[in-house]
């Protein structure tokens, strides 16, 4: 980046500055700490200079937007063409209530939907299953059958919106329900745009909504890859997620590494299933967190793009440039929200969202300020959406591409994070890949260690959290909290009872038997799941067949 003789001069001048100007000041006014660190605990130097990016080769390492290695962004015009998709994750209670919230969000200028399902739906239980008790409609909407899905998307034109669904172990079933609603609306599958999370590996390591053991889970995922590449070509078949890994406590480098290691495992599974890397590579998408350390986060997003592009090109021989692009969604970090002085969270979310935008995200969810207290209220959700709109329309940061490129600090941190993540990935390769590393508890242990260290830093006061361990105030109790009607469970049970009475039960039985036969072979399971969904077989019934054939995952807990 810098001429060699120039570099020599900079080194000498820096030395002179350190022993002269700097020493004089530090002698009189010591710095706040003896050492400084990022939110991830990495050292932060006092000053970065051309010396720190001596090795950086502009054309090789940065390049141009829309071109390999995509460090500067995946689109040639980035936000000058179109702002990121503002996509608020929402869903609660019944399909009727969530449908109303989606219509409200769309009327407020939101540009894509993001569906939160409740835990029973995510774990493949109908709302009336004993394990579902107390959880129905709580963290998302309850969907037990195609009937619920039809209500959820009532009057929402599926050919026009893009829909992201946070669904993993039961993703195949929910995707089939979405396809069935589209068919009913007369929307061809080739026009459907959206994403299913479908990333089961991070469920084992960080998020917890697994159902089946790794091997059949990987098969369901590659079945979806294969089916959609032909039938639903614009659908993002997976959102390989670092978000939950970060939320579980990882550092920025671990977030990159464990996410991309999962990505590598999916690519290898799909190759093993006989797919070609450029058939499914372009439909892989990603999901990351944005934490408080604005500059570290920006570097993280840039490092991730470069590292994945290199992996896809060099390791897997991808030829299609689209296979090399990290297109990603970002959500601000939920665990950074405080219950204390909750309005301060608006500021935290603003900073985190800014980092995501400066890091080149394709879509963004901004958290609501009241989420450490309970489900977000409508007012809080609106402020969260407005936060994105103010960044997009007023702050002017979106007018030029990758504006922080060339900063000595940002570039050296981008290099460091890429290297640290690559080192972790090598370690995971040595353990036999992400699945083995998870089975051995390696990834979970790494995340837990980081989480514990972070908490201890808060305890000791080394890390300041405003309102929690510094600048506390006495607070009045907070009244406005959004509640889910506790009758949701009963009304869902009632709906299910009626459904089971009214549908053609012979057809349901036939479809489930066909699914069972398919699950025992290696045929693609999406067509039989689709037929079962269309016959109004419930989510629980379909997942029970698969549980029977595949078994259930039982983790070993290490603390």
């Amino acid at each position: 980046m810098v001429k060699k003789d120039n570099l020599q001069a900079v080194a000498e001048a820096k030395n002179k500055w350190e022993t002269g100007t700097l020493q004089k000041t530090i002698g009189k006014y010591p710095e706040r700490h003896s050492d400084f660190m990022t939110v991830s605990g990495s050292p932060v130097e006092r000053l970065y200079t051309p010396q720190d990016i001596e090795e950086l080769d502009y054309l090789e390492d940065l390049g141009f937007p829309g071109e390999y290695p995509y460090t500067r962004g995946v689109q040639p015009t980035m936000y000058r063409g179109r702002l990121w998709t503002m996509r608020q994750y929402a869903g609660f209670g019944t399909a009727v209530e969530s449908n109303q919230r989606y219509k409200y969000l769309l009327s407020q200028g939101q540009t894509g939907l993001s569906v939160a399902f409740d835990l029973p739906t995510q774990i493949g239980y109908d709302s009336d299953h004993p394990m579902a008790e107390g959880e129905v409609g709580k963290v998302g909407v309850a969907v037990s059958s195609l009937g619920d899905m039809e209500v959820l998307f009532d009057e929402i034109p599926l050919g026009k919106v893009s829909t992201s669904m946070t669904i993993n172990a039961s993703a195949a079933v929910l995707l089939c329900m979405y396809m069935a609603v589209a068919e009913k609306q007369g929307v061809p599958w080739k026009d459907l745009r959206g994403t299913i999370q479908n990333d089961v590996l991070k469920e084992y390591s960080a998020r917890g909504t697994y159902i089946f053991p790794p091997s059949p889970s990987m098969r369901l995922i590659t079945d979806i890859f294969a089916f959609c590449s032909k039938e639903v070509p614009r659908w993002n078949t997976i959102s390989i997620s670092g978000y939950h890994i970060r939320e579980a406590g990882s550092t920025a480098a671990q977030e990159i590494a464990f996410t991309l290691a999962d990505g590598i495992a999916y690519v290898e599974a799909a190759l093993k299933a006989g797919l070609h890397v450029d058939d499914f590579g372009p439909r892989l998408s990603f999901f990351f967190a944005s934490h408080n350390d604005v500059l570290e986060e920006i570097a993280k997003f840039r490092a991730t793009r470069r590292l994945w592009a290199r992996i896809m090109k060099e390791r897997f021989g991808a030829k299609n440039p689209r296979s090399m692009k990290v297109r990603f969604h970002t959500q601000t970090c939920g665990h950074t929200l405080t219950a204390q002085q909750p309005l301060n969270n608006i500021v935290r979310v603003t900073l985190q969202a800014l980092a995501a935008v400066l890091g080149g995200t394709q879509s963004l969810h901004t958290n609501s300020y009241d989420e450490a207290l309970g489900l977000p209220t409508e007012e809080a959700v609106r402020i969260a959406l407005r936060t994105q709109q103010i960044i997009g329309y007023e702050s002017n940061v979106a007018e030029t591409i990758d504006p922080l490129a060339g900063s000595y600090y940002i570039e050296s941190m981008t290099n460091r994070l890429e290297k640290e993540a690559a080192d972790y990935i090598r370690k995971i390769d040595d353990l036999g890949g992400a699945v083995k590393a998870i089975e051995q508890g390696y990834i979970q242990r790494e995340i837990q260690d980081s989480a514990y260290r972070y908490q201890q830093e808060i305890e000791s006061g080394r890390r300041t959290i405003i309102g929690v361990n510094k600048f506390q105030v006495e607070e009045k109790s907070r009244s406005k909290i959004m509640k889910v009607d506790p009758a949701v469970g009963q009304s869902q049970a009632q709906r299910l009872k009626q459904l089971r009475k009214e549908r053609d039960n012979r057809e349901v039985k036939r479809c489930l038997a066909e699914l069972r036969r398919g699950a025992r072979t290696d045929e693609n399971l999406i067509p039989p799941i689709y037929r079962a969904v269309k016959a109004y077989a419930t989510l629980g019934e379909i997942c029970d067949v698969l549980r029977d054939v595949f078994g259930e995952y039982r983790p070993t807990e290490i603390v």
Partner: protein
């Protein structure tokens, strides 16, 4: 003197176990014996584990809203099967106005987001000693 024995448990379907694992390690570093159940436990499973491990404290965690129904159920089963000596505490994203009902149901303390580990450890030390 016998070390304080704690069962840290995730009830319901919630998979958010960062807090549960952090507090489990903090209890251990504070000199207690800690057993962690893992996620997705029913109240019955939690109490069976508490009996088997002969614990002094059951620490429940839920961030999904499942606490409303499941915490009181654990407290009731603990009381029925283990008596009043066992301390049941809980944590997670729990709206303030739901805390009185949980205390009424036998949850000795509810620790929300931002609670320091020290506060929870101190609470356990004080209340377990008092009980025994």
């Amino acid at each position: 003197m016998r070390k304080i024995r704690v069962l840290v448990a995730k009830v319901g379907l919630d998979g958010h176990d960062r807090g549960a694992k952090v507090i489990a390690r903090a209890f251990r570093d504070a000199g207690m014996e800690v057993i962690y159940t893992g996620i997705r436990q029913t109240p019955e499973q939690v109490v069976a584990a508490a009996i088997q491990e002969d614990v002094d404290v059951v620490g429940l965690s839920s961030l999904s809203g499942g606490h409303e129904l499941l915490f009181p159920r654990v407290a009731k089963l603990v009381k029925e099967q283990m008596g009043d000596q066992v301390l049941v505490i809980g944590g997670g994203v729990i709206p303030e106005d739901e805390i009185p009902a949980l205390k009424e149901a036998g949850i000795a303390a509810v620790f929300g987001p931002g609670t320091s580990l020290k506060e929870i450890i101190d609470f356990v030390h004080t209340h377990v000693n008092r009980a025994s």
